[in-house]
């Protein structure tokens, strides 16, 4: 099955393509409405800020096509890092703006959401799989994944959360899922062998 990577114009998406190629998965970059409409499984990488990303999606008229993909066609979708965050109700990075509202919750800086010394979560964190799902098939609990973010969802509905990590004792979202839509806060393309396994699992959904 071919996987499409959303190329929203800037930033490093080569890593995801390299990872998919390494595990022998066919992939292409999609940029516009028609290409998204023709794709089956789609990966939304996270680059830039919440506000910039939603603005850009709307300007390029791909926002509605993604809504169709997620809510109407219900095709497989994996949001990575910011690509996961924009699936929440709204974000407060740069300026406040509404997200896809697939998951209830708000996105704000780690600094504002959990009085913690760790304001930039950059590095390897063990994740706890709290709900079994296809994305984590064959992945042991407490395995470490690579994170690089300073914004995080809060006030979220625990129901959809599939994996968490701890920051200063507080449980934070590592992964989330509803039907065919998946989101991971960590970078599977930078998380070694088990990160590649997550991508492989996604290709089989």
């Amino acid at each position: 099955m071919k996987i499409s990577i959303l190329d929203s114009g800037f930033g490093n998406i080569r890593g995801i393509k390299n990872a998919l190629s390494f595990i022998n998965l066919d992939c292409n970059f999609v940029k516009n409405k028609t290409q998204i409409s023709n794709s089956n499984s789609i990966i939304i990488p996270g680059v830039g800020s919440f506000y910039q990303t939603i603005k850009r999606f709307k300007k390029k008229k791909i926002y509605d096509e993604l809504v169709k993909h997620i809510f109407i066609k219900k095709k497989p979708m994996l949001g990575i890092c910011l690509g996961m965050q924009i699936l929440f109700s709204n974000g407060n990075e740069d300026k406040e703006i509404n997200g896809f509202n697939l998951f209830k919750g708000n996105v704000d800086s780690i600094n504002n959401t959990c009085n913690s010394e760790l304001t930039h979560n950059v590095g390897w964190q063990n994740i706890k799989i709290v709900k079994k799902n296809l994305l984590f098939k064959g992945i042991p609990d407490n395995e470490s994944f690579y994170f690089a973010h300073k914004y995080t969802p809060y006030n979220f509905n625990k129901l959809n959360v599939t994996a968490t990590y701890r920051n200063n004792g507080k449980k934070m979202i590592a992964a989330i899922n509803k039907k065919n839509a998946y989101g991971v806060q960590f970078h599977p393309e930078k998380s070694g062998k088990f990160g590649l396994k997550v991508l492989k699992n996604f290709s089989e959904i």
Partner: protein, 247 residues
């Protein structure tokens, strides 16, 4: 946060090399293969430094790191934003800036603004001269007038996400990390601190990990023995150190 075990690959004119005190170099081989070995042995991160005096390898980096699925930092000879853009496009997660951090601190600010703090490492080469830590640029060739404290301040004020301290004296000696240099630097900053230079045996990592580095870097230590990353990690895990276990 887990202490990261970081593999450094020095590239001289397209060949991965072992560096001894920044002035003698022994060839290791194809950088792509060296990088792939480090990845498959379970390294947490990789830093690639182009130490060539000229002929930069910028064009080849995307090829070198094609099969590397942990975070990658690229440094060596970064002059301007165009270089940074190119390296990030090639697949680098972070860039390490050394000489230009002193010559053009504005570049640091531009990088952290455009790509985020996490994408910028200020790399500092240090040598002890007359019992004083002295900062060097241009691959250890040029003595800088700026003090270690000053360059750390510059890094902090311009949005660097991490600092990498290389001890020129310890480089390639296998005699252990410069703990005093590490402590001195740590007292100057709250930024995550990576130390490089001098790793010769597993106990050297144990000594330094207790001082609280964010990352412990080594080059030669990993390159000349099979599975060295695994052995090191097994050893540190047996001591209950907080590192990433990579099976």
């Amino acid at each position: 946060m887990k202490t990261r075990i970081i593999g450094v690959v020095n590239i001289l004119n397209g060949v991965a090399v072992q560096s001894i005190q920044f002035n003698r170099f022994l060839p290791i081989g194809d950088p792509k293969i060296a990088i792939e070995y480090l990845f498959s042995w379970g390294i947490d991160e990789i830093i690639i430094l182009d130490i060539s005096r000229e002929k930069k390898m910028f064009k080849k980096f995307s090829y070198f790191i094609k099969n590397c699925f942990v975070p990658v930092t690229i440094g060596g000879g970064i002059n301007n934003m165009k270089d940074v853009d190119h390296l990030i496009k090639s697949g680098a997660d972070k860039v390490a800036i050394n000489t230009q951090a002193i010559n053009d601190p504005m570049l640091l600010e531009s990088v952290s603004k455009k790509y985020g703090n996490q994408a910028l490492i200020v790399s500092i080469d240090v040598k002890k001269i007359k019992n004083k830590y002295t900062v060097f640029t241009n691959s250890g060739m040029v003595e800088s007038k700026i003090s270690l404290k000053e360059i750390i301040n510059i890094a902090e004020n311009s949005g660097a996400g991490e600092i990498l301290i290389n001890s020129i004296d310890s480089d390639g000696t296998k005699k252990g990390f410069d703990k005093r240099l590490f402590i001195f630097t740590k007292n100057c900053t709250n930024l995550p601190l990576n130390i490089c230079g001098g790793a010769g045996k597993t106990s050297h990592f144990e000594e330094i990990i207790n001082l609280g580095p964010s990352g412990i870097c080594a080059a030669n230590f990993f390159h000349f023995k099979e599975q060295r990353v695994r052995f090191l990690k097994d050893y540190l895990v047996s001591l209950k150190k907080n590192i990433r276990i990579s099976n």
